[in-house]
């Protein structure tokens, strides 16, 4: 039992070596640059670098709520992607029945996309307000 498991996971050895190598490499880079690097403290050392332009004010601005909306859409369509992934791997076995199921699944979410689009939720530059006076299709 133990042996067979060991044999089964033998290909994991390179992974372990890789893992350790990554830790050593990153650690070495950090430690060596810290130890060997030159340090100078000037008047402007702690000022953020803004391509040579003097910074104005804090970078901590309030972001628009549309960033949140985009993140939200991303989460929802990402969920969809997970199911498409499961389908893609087993597409042959799922057959036509699976294809139809996936088709229904995607068309429901397509309705969502269409809704977002008509609502103007995907527009970035223009006003994000719901356009209430939409002319009929």
């Amino acid at each position: 039992m133990c042996l067979s498991a060991a044999a089964q996971y033998a290909p994991l050895w390179p992974l372990a070596v890789y893992f350790v190598a990554v830790v050593i490499l990153v650690g070495a880079m950090l430690v060596l640059s810290h130890a060997l690097g030159e340090r100078r403290r000037g008047r402007l050392t702690s000022v953020p670098y803004e391509s040579g332009v003097v910074g104005t004010g804090s970078a901590r601005l309030h972001f628009d709520v549309k960033f949140y909306m985009v993140a939200m859409f991303f989460v929802i369509f990402d969920m969809e992607a997970v199911f498409v992934f499961a389908w893609a791997v087993s597409a042959r076995e799922a057959g036509w029945a699976g294809y139809i199921e996936m088709f229904i699944f995607i068309s429901i979410l397509l309705a969502a996309l269409f809704y977002l689009w008509r609502l103007g939720a995907l527009e970035w530059g223009t006003s994000m307000k719901i356009r209430r006076k939409i002319e009929p299709l």
Partner: protein, 162 residues
């Protein structure tokens, strides 16, 4: 070998998990959470559940973390950073956590585990896809309706109206 990997991933997961709650800067906290979630994905691989590992990366590391980071950007962080968290005595918090985890461990060990791991069924992506489109067809289609409802709900709550 597997045990070694498990210990490695679990140790990093716990350490980064602790960092999530102890670090002051919310962005650092979010980054630590990413590390933690990736470790958990690795643990899923060790448990021979590649699908769950992929979902973990897809959903949590991909989408949910983006959402977290945007929320961090949208909120006024200066106030949040200044406030002490947790808002009660630290000793109390640690005590509650210890009691809860001790209870959890006790529960697991005190219960006779009749069923071993599932026999004759490997939860590969392929086999999950197969049951998803046959046995679990109905829940699968319900999920798409839930996603649509969630999207409409998000729009209704967050959008400005004229």
């Amino acid at each position: 070998m597997e045990k070694l990997f498990f210990l490695m991933f679990a140790a990093v997961a716990i350490a980064s998990g602790l960092a999530v709650v102890t670090v002051r800067n919310p962005v650092h906290s979010a980054l630590a959470l990413i590390v933690c979630l990736i470790q958990v994905a690795a643990l899923f691989v060790l448990l021979r559940s590649p699908f769950l590992a992929a979902v973990q990366i897809f959903i949590y590391v991909g989408a949910v973390m983006v959402l977290f980071l945007f929320v961090v950007l949208i909120l006024d962080m200066r106030k949040a950073v200044l406030q002490a968290f947790p808002p009660v005595k630290k000793r109390f918090v640690v005590g509650v956590i210890l009691v809860l985890s001790a209870q959890m461990v006790a529960f697991v060990f005190l219960t006779p585990m009749g069923l071993g791991p599932a026999q004759g069924w490997e939860p590969t992506v392929e086999s999950i896809g197969r049951v998803l489109f046959t046995k679990y067809l109905f829940p699968f289609e319900v999920v798409s309706v839930i996603l649509l409802a969630a999207l409409v709900a998000a729009i209704v709550i967050a959008k400005e109206r004229q």
